[in-house]
Symmetry: C2
Subunit: 348 residues, 2 copies
């Protein structure tokens, strides 16, 4: 028995209905809504076949059917039609981005917010990873007589800052000199390239004065530490949206889910795994986390100057509206990339 066009149309009708209602769909409903002008009996026969093909599941005999994970996968790959946002929705997005925004963190938060608002699912986003950004300058700014602020600046702005101790015998002028040397040595390199390899020579040169040797060593440690901590952070929003869905209406299920979703590492992994593709869709068990049963995740990357910098996504029940989510992600992704470009690269 083959998966002919009619079967696909019936499957599509069932998915459409189930996505709306979360209730098993009966043959009579399909007969009415599918537009195929077939009796419920005929639909029943087809549904029986779809069941055998592993595309439909029944909670129990004599109940309607619901799509299997396999069905959603098939839907996403072959059936789904591209959907578009209406002008209200587009406006809603641009409104969010036209507010005054202070720095990357703010943009990222706004994005998480609007993403969850528009989809009614939970949104997640990781801040841009700046390990590939080019170092421009390293500056040690005195703060008190025994402390200074180490600032690492790249072509996209502030990368890292850390408080370091400075022996009082080192003058402000000397700090400037050290800053300059560090800048000369490391400028143009990437953050990830500040490593042991560059250090020894540099520090021999810097460490010529005995009394500041210890300070120079500490400084080196600090630089290395700063370059290692990736500092990519995860924002989520709208976890409570998930509680509205009947699939999580059992308090125990909901608790487990929220439990899992509070583990930032896990979400970080989910998002960072998918940075190479423009979009990624994981359905149910394709997310290899047993705690996230009945969930799907759709992610998209955002970029600056064409270079992917991070990713964002949406988590909802497997019966999510994939088409709409993709449209929203696509649009927001573009807006976000634009904003980031304006912040960093534009020259007007």
């Amino acid at each position: 028995m083959s998966l002919d066009l009619r079967k696909l149309m019936i499957l599509q009708a069932i998915i459409d209905d189930y996505v709306m209602t979360a209730m098993p769909v009966g043959s009579r409903t399909v007969s009415k809504h599918s537009g195929l002008n077939l009796s419920s009996a005929t639909i029943r026969n087809e549904m029986f076949d779809l069941k055998e093909l592993g595309l439909l599941e029944q909670p129990h005999t004599s109940s309607g059917s619901m799509p299997s994970e396999k069905a959603y996968r098939l839907y996403v790959n072959r059936l789904m039609q591209k959907s578009n946002l209406n002008s209200d929705e587009i406006e809603h997005i641009s409104k969010h981005y036209s507010k005054k925004i202070n720095g990357v963190e703010d943009v990222v938060k706004q994005t998480a917010l609007v993403l969850s608002q528009m989809t009614n699912y939970m949104s997640m986003i990781i801040t841009p990873h700046l390990n590939d950004a080019e170092l421009r300058r390293i500056q040690i700014i005195p703060v008190t007589d025994d402390k200074a602020l180490l600032v690492i600046v790249s072509d996209v702005g502030l990368l890292r800052d850390a408080i370091i101790k400075v022996p009082s015998e080192i003058s402000e002028h000397e700090l400037d000199r050290i800053s300059e040397m560090l800048t000369n040595a490391l400028s143009g390199k990437k953050l990830s390239e500040i490593s042991n390899s560059y250090m020894p020579d540099l520090f021999k040169e810097l460490g010529e004065r005995r009394e500041s040797l210890e300070f120079i060593n500490k400084l080196g440690e600090n630089l290395k530490k700063a370059s290692k901590s990736t500092k990519q952070e995860v924002e989520t929003y709208g976890a409570k949206n998930l509680l509205s869905f009947p699939e999580y209406s059992d308090i125990e299920v909901a608790k487990n889910l929220l439990d899992a979703l509070e583990q930032r590492d896990m979400i970080y992994a989910l998002l960072s795994n998918a940075t190479d593709l423009e979009f990624s869709i994981k359905i149910g068990s394709e997310i290899e986390d047993p705690k996230l049963t009945n969930c799907s995740i759709v992610t998209a990357t955002y970029s600056i100057g064409g270079r992917p910098l991070g990713s964002m996504g949406v988590l909802g029940p497997t019966r999510m509206n994939y088409s709409r989510v993709l449209a929203i992600l696509s649009h927001i992704g573009k807006s976000l990339s634009e904003i980031l470009n304006q912040m960093y690269l534009d020259t007007d």
Copy 2:
């Protein structure tokens, strides 16, 4: 009828029991657990009185009683005994703070985490407000030929940073000079004092060269903007803990609650209202938010160099273990203040 010692002891027994079980407490239970050696009948008479005093409530006739908000208030004010943490718990806290920590944000997040872990309620914390910090230096660091990073540094480290546009005719050397002038003019002041009053003179001085006038104006705007945005942020942790409590086991109730708790402004208000007292306890309707029925909030302030900088707190059901929460908040508050002191003020 007066509230004599015996009634108080009975009330205490009921509260103790109810805090544990969340189930209405019957007279027989009190008779057994109160240590008063009274029959259930006697207890019943006393409980009747406590009911008339508004300290006990019954879900329905012929069920046991539970403490009213008034009862919790009385308990907190008069009955509660100070509790102490055991050595395991103290160790658990210090372990969290002995990890490598990168900057204030990290400390704050760790605090939220440990607070929620130890109490099993939801934790909330606001980042230190640094408006009273003393400005030390303002530095404009070139990034590309038309952009620079504006960095505002105080005695406690980095305060603000922002990308600003720089006309290409302004040389790096000139930026240094401007930085120096700004530093001279504003150093020693507080962030909140960067206002129009200081600006005109300063900018007349800076703006002597015609071509850079526009840039100087923009710089002024940026400084003002940076000084205004308070940038105090709210972290919460463990919202899902609340789902474990039977008072929120109804999915609708839980949804409403989580809904409310996702509004950062509201939590910010809750926390910042209570920065003048070392501890603050709000029980039920004392939190004037209709969405937070059945909730109590305990907050504490943390400080640096004796000056209160922010506050943190715990949100849970009204039947929370106030005594334990206070002990935990007290200990964590001390640890947090110590850490912040080490980060900023220590001179070793």
